[in-house]
Assembly symmetry: C2
Homo-oligomer: 240 residues x 2
DNA sequence: TTTTTCGTGTTGTCATACAAATTTCTTTAT
DNA sequence: ATAAAGAAATTTGTATGACAACACGAAAAA
């Protein structure tokens, strides 16, 4: 009896079936990355469906970043990019964003970023170090009245640290979180006098630790830095 | 001069323009979550485009999880679900998976999961605790010869801990990582004699700490647990 | 009032045609 | 023979019209 009701919602449309079919072929590497898909006409014949249904399946696959469609040329299986994954996370976090989540974002940063600093100290390349040092210079000469730019550079610093871990999972995790920070800017960087110098001081110490590949010190400094941030945030919260 | 070449690839198709248009309306909450979109016919008139182009835009939006299309009924802006974000991460990690990434997955778990255990101890609800305890029972009475089931329950344990943090960012981060673990199973759980009892012991201690909301002990036990895992993994690596 | 039936609107699929971009081949000029 | 120019074929993008499959509500029947 219940089985009848279960079927509701499970009715796949034809184009969805086609989509799964092609997706499976890609996942199983039967269609290797970079390979050209058969043309629409050929696929229509193979699946014995109309061009409409096929195309709607293809549109979905391209929206999800599995294939790339070039007008007049053809379709290829794309090397799925980290950017695709980050984009969809951005979308999700963006739509979900809510002031109530701010404390959870801070909680996550407080928990993860010291560990990330540690990993960065262990795995950083010379190029990572160069990026971090460039960020310090940028931050130092940034107009202190331009709070927008200031917090952008600050965010970039933390992203650079995440990238210096060399661990793609860390990057995918933290990029969307940091993309959310500008929306918290008005809450946190509320024109606190002299805060910039303090922040810069912490950043310098973190970079020093990463330069010398001193994992424990990188951990501690990042923790101290974010603790300070937390305090500033709490001070603001009291004012509201 | 170069500007001419830059334009290559930026040529948006009509359906892409429509897609961005509707996406923007959703992001700006002009189309609130749960609201019904105008019918295809109406949208065609509004945008002054053919049904073909419009529908392809809609297919893309639904593939990305922004809208839900119900045959015969209509289209609604979906309350974007965590599942959508996790799904796309799963796809990315799945296609990217490579034995070389195993060490980075372990690295991430070693860095993050102790902190996660700490957060879980601080934030867990009674229901979280019940789930964790149920998992312990399940694990205990699991047939030790069924290594597949055994590692599934193990993974589930760590997911329960992540969920007990109550922090959605933590869950989104860890779910796809743990979905990858079954593919590492053969590498790690290579029929190590007596390993199950040791694992169960750690799990119990972690749950105890979470029950008593002892954050530091939860941290330490999780760290010890994963350190042990790491050793088992390294032992295997030597054998290859 | 309750149930059934039917009509209307909505999305799904099909077929055909042409536009626009790209590739391939042919022709032509050097 | 080689290279450039152009024509032809191929491929994706859009438009149009038609019908099928499904959902929902209103009207009709019990």
């Amino acid at each position: 009896m219940d089985e009848i009701f279960k079927k509701i919602g499970t009715t796949q449309t034809l184009s969805q079936k086609i989509e799964r079919n092609i997706e499976r072929a890609i996942r199983e590497k039967k269609l290797p990355i970079g390979s050209k898909l058969p043309s629409e006409r050929e696929l229509c014949e193979m699946f014995a469906v109309s061009r409409t249904a096929l195309r709607e399946a293809l549109r979905r696959l391209s929206a999800r970043g599995l294939i790339e469609i070039k007008k007049g040329s053809g379709m290829v299986v794309t090397k799925i990019d980290m950017k695709d994954a980050i984009d969809s996370l951005n979308l999700y976090y963006d739509l979900k964003f809510d002031v109530n989540l701010i404390s959870q974002i801070i909680e996550l940063r407080l928990a993860f970023e010291p560990e990330i600093a540690k990993m960065a100290a262990q795995n950083r390349t010379d190029e990572d170090l160069k990026n971090l040092e460039a960020n310090l210079v940028e931050f130092a000469k940034c107009d202190p009245d331009n709070t927008q730019l200031e917090s952008d550079i600050d965010n970039k610093f933390h992203l650079c640290v995440a990238r210096a871990t060399g661990n793609p999972f860390v990057i995918v995790t933290m990029e969307p979180v940091h993309n959310l920070l500008p929306r918290m800017r008005n809450f946190i960087y509320a024109n606190i006098e002299g805060e910039k110098e303090i922040t810069l001081g912490y950043h310098k110490e973190i970079v020093n630790a990463i330069r010398e590949q001193d994992a424990e010190r990188a951990y501690e400094k990042m923790q101290a830095h974010l603790d300070r941030n937390m305090q500033v945030y709490n001070k603001f919260l009291k004012n509201t």
